[in-house]
């Protein structure tokens, strides 16, 4: 951080005296590192710098990726890989064993296919809904000449909350004794137990997700909007273009690369839905109406009475493949958007 030129010399000097005091503390690390450099040579120091990071990545990402694939081909309930029998493609076969993929009840693991169906519908609705609200809000904020910073902050704020907090806040809002039911009683003399009815609970899960994440995508779209040069609108104005046509013929095409990236990002996030839905619906209820794939994996692996690590890993691998396809298409789109 460079201090502005106006920083008084006295402050700079004092700051540095404090810095000198820290010197002794910092030397504690510097001395062994300098010794290491003498031992290895300066040319090997970059490896030393990058090593801790790569080590952690290896242990917690690369090794698990390999393990996930390995576990997917084993059976039994033992945790350690060498205690587990090799079962070949059995886990995948079990997961994909279905009378009709459109009807989860005909599948051997009907919970998995229920989760797939739920996730599919959630992904569709959440992506479209979030995209719509984020786009409109970004356009509105881009238009405001005053208060933009304030509203941007307000709409972004929920993004920073934890999924647990969001789930609880909304569960309380929608509760039997909640505020919404208070209004419903006042106005319509009725109460709805939202989270115990299949249709309502699904709708609210999507709604809460939109409420939770919309601000993030709104910010990205807003940044894209602000990157559109002002003068092309002025040129259009001089040409007598109506505002309606300006939106369809200028804003939308220029924003399209940005929107495509946002869409794929939304798809990737939606497929992984878990925590806020889990908290909001008390673990995917009512019944399995809000059980999603990640929850299926989590329960299959970690429920004390299941512990089917192989099956869970196989489901992970299938989901990972789906996500990989989405991510690669995102990278491809992002690259295209840059050109």
């Amino acid at each position: 951080m460079t201090a502005p030129a106006s920083v008084a010399p006295a402050i700079v000097a004092r700051g540095e005296r404090i810095g000198d005091g820290l010197d002794a503390v910092m030397r504690v690390v510097e001395v062994p590192m300098a010794a290491l450099q003498r031992l290895l040579g300066a040319a090997r120091m970059p490896y030393v710098f990058i090593l801790p990071n790569m080590l952690l990545f290896t242990v917690f990402v690369f090794v698990p990726v390999g393990l996930a694939i390995a576990y997917a081909f084993t059976g039994g309930t033992n945790l350690l890989i060498w205690d587990r029998p090799f079962v070949g493609l059995e886990n995948f076969r079990a997961l994909l064993d279905c009378g009709s993929y459109l009807e989860p009840s005909t599948c051997r693991y009907n919970l998995f296919w229920t989760a797939v169906h739920n996730t599919w519908w959630y992904t569709l609705l959440n992506t479209l809904g979030t995209l719509f609200f984020a786009l409109v809000t970004a356009l509105v904020l881009n238009r405001l000449t005053r208060g933009r910073g304030f509203f941007r902050a307000v709409f972004f704020y929920p993004v920073l909350l934890s999924p647990v907090v969001v789930g609880l806040i909304w569960q309380w809002f929608l509760a039997r004794e909640g505020l919404l039911n208070g209004f419903l009683t006042d106005w319509f003399d009725t109460r709805i137990i939202f989270l115990l009815e299949v249709g309502w609970s699904r709708a609210w899960v999507v709604y809460v997700s939109i409420w939770f994440h919309m601000g993030f995508f709104m910010l990205i779209i807003l940044a894209g909007l602000q990157a559109i040069p002002r003068d092309i609108y002025e040129a259009a104005e001089i040409d007598g273009t109506s505002q309606w046509r300006q939106f369809w013929c200028l804003t939308l095409p220029l924003l399209l690369p940005n929107l495509l990236v946002v869409t794929v990002l939304l798809l990737i996030r939606s497929v992984q839905v878990f925590d806020e839905a889990w908290v909001l619906t008390n673990g995917g209820g009512p019944g399995t109406a809000n059980t999603f794939i990640v929850q299926f994996i989590y329960q299959t692996a970690f429920s004390p009475d299941l512990r089917l690590y192989g099956l869970a890993s196989a489901a992970s691998v299938l989901m990972g493949i789906a996500l990989l396809v989405l991510t690669l298409s995102q990278l491809w789109l992002a690259k295209k958007a840059e050109v």
């Binding site: 951080m1 460079t2 201090a3 030129a5 920083v7 010399p9 700079v12 000097a13 540095e16 810095g19």
Partner: protein, 368 residues
């Protein structure tokens, strides 16, 4: 006081060689300038001397010590960067003392050296400021101060004046010269500006495309350029060059024939040419005079294209014959001429340089 010797130094990036075997000897306490056009390898060479750039092949010695594999710190050099590279988050004092602290020097000694350097460079008034709060000239002095406090064996300067305005540049030029006289440390100075090299250095190394073109005292380079490249590079404005042919050689000198300058005799003996050879004739603008040829001199005529008068001197640019290059004539004082008018010029053949048209090698230097 350290002498530096470089023997067949080479630098390559993969299969691409950028420095092709350089031999330079820098005497102890000498001020040497490395000049050349951009991309000639002068900065790379400086960085090889500093130890920032590994040496691919060859040998570099500081006195009798081989330093090829030593780090900059071990070579005990100090360097002033073109961008100054002052640490923006440290005060001037800290900028000066940082290097000494790295050497775990005694605090009292650090303070003594910093104060001495600050006084010498007249930057003691703003030791507690950050570099951002300083002017360009002050930053430049801090950069030099940071080099001085180290009391290095060799000072390296990488185009240190290129970020200063013209007036400050002239002033700082003389300050660095003064500094060298005071410290008597070996200094190597990289610049693309021949005026800086000519005015400051005791010895100039002209580099081109990763090779040494000539090494010599400033005046030697001006008066006896070893080849066409040096002839064209040293001297401002550039030397006038004309194609010519050797008519005959004899005891009185070499008789030349040139489409632009006519036939004349260069009075010098022992020039390695034979009749019929193609040569390039070089004449400095200051050796041309306006006016018709008299006895003992030769001349040509040109159509004026441009006149640049600076008041105390004037450069006249004109076209001579079919030549692409304009002839430049230096005229003392103010001078005016119509564009398109015809002017005659003369010269003393004794001042003519001769270069081989085959390899550009100098065949004869000018008379002093």
């Amino acid at each position: 006081m350290t002498a530096i010797s470089m023997k067949d130094l080479r630098k390559s990036y993969g299969s691409l060689e950028v420095i092709h075997g350089i031999d330079i000897d820098v005497g102890s306490g000498e001020f040497v300038a490395l000049v050349g056009p951009s991309g000639c390898g002068k900065s790379t060479l400086l960085r090889m001397i500093s130890g920032l750039e590994p040496i691919s092949a060859g040998q570099m010695n500081f006195d009798d010590q081989r330093v090829n594999d030593l780090s900059p710190a071990q070579r005990q050099i100090a360097m002033v960067f073109q961008s100054y590279a002052l640490y923006p988050h440290m005060s001037v004092r800290k900028n000066l003392s940082f290097g000494l602290e790295n050497l775990r020097m005694d605090r009292a000694e650090i303070n003594r050296r910093v104060d001495a350097a600050a006084k010498m460079l007249a930057i003691d008034g703003y030791l507690d400021r950050r570099p951002k709060a300083l002017s360009g000239g002050q930053r430049q002095r801090v950069a030099i101060g940071r080099a001085i406090v180290r009391q290095p064996r060799v000072f390296l300067f990488d185009e240190p004046l290129s970020n200063l305005d013209a007036k400050l540049r002239v002033q700082t030029r003389s300050e660095i010269t003064k500094l060298h006289k005071q410290l008597k440390t070996t200094m190597i100075y990289v610049t693309h500006d021949q005026v800086e090299a000519m005015t400051m250095a005791q010895k100039i190394v002209v580099l081109n495309k990763g090779k040494v073109e000539q090494i010599g005292r400033p005046l030697d380079l001006f008066e006896r350029p070893a080849n066409l490249f040096v002839a064209g590079f040293i001297g401002s404005p550039r030397m006038n060059l004309y194609p010519g042919k050797v008519v005959s050689t004899g005891s009185e000198g070499v008789t030349l024939d040139s489409a632009q300058l006519g036939r004349f005799v260069v009075p010098a003996a022992g020039i390695d040419v034979q009749s019929g050879n193609d040569v390039t004739i070089g004449l400095r603008p200051s050796h041309l005079r306006l006016g018709s040829a008299e006895a003992g001199s030769s001349g040509g005529a040109m159509t004026v294209e441009q006149v640049e008068s600076m008041g105390h001197e004037t450069f006249v640019y004109g076209r001579t014959g079919q030549s692409d290059e304009l002839t430049i004539v230096h005229v003392p004082g103010h001078f005016e001429a119509e564009t398109g008018s015809s002017l005659a010029f003369t010269f003393d053949p004794a001042f003519a340089h001769l270069f081989s048209s085959v390899d550009g090698r100098s065949l004869k230097g000018a008379r002093i």
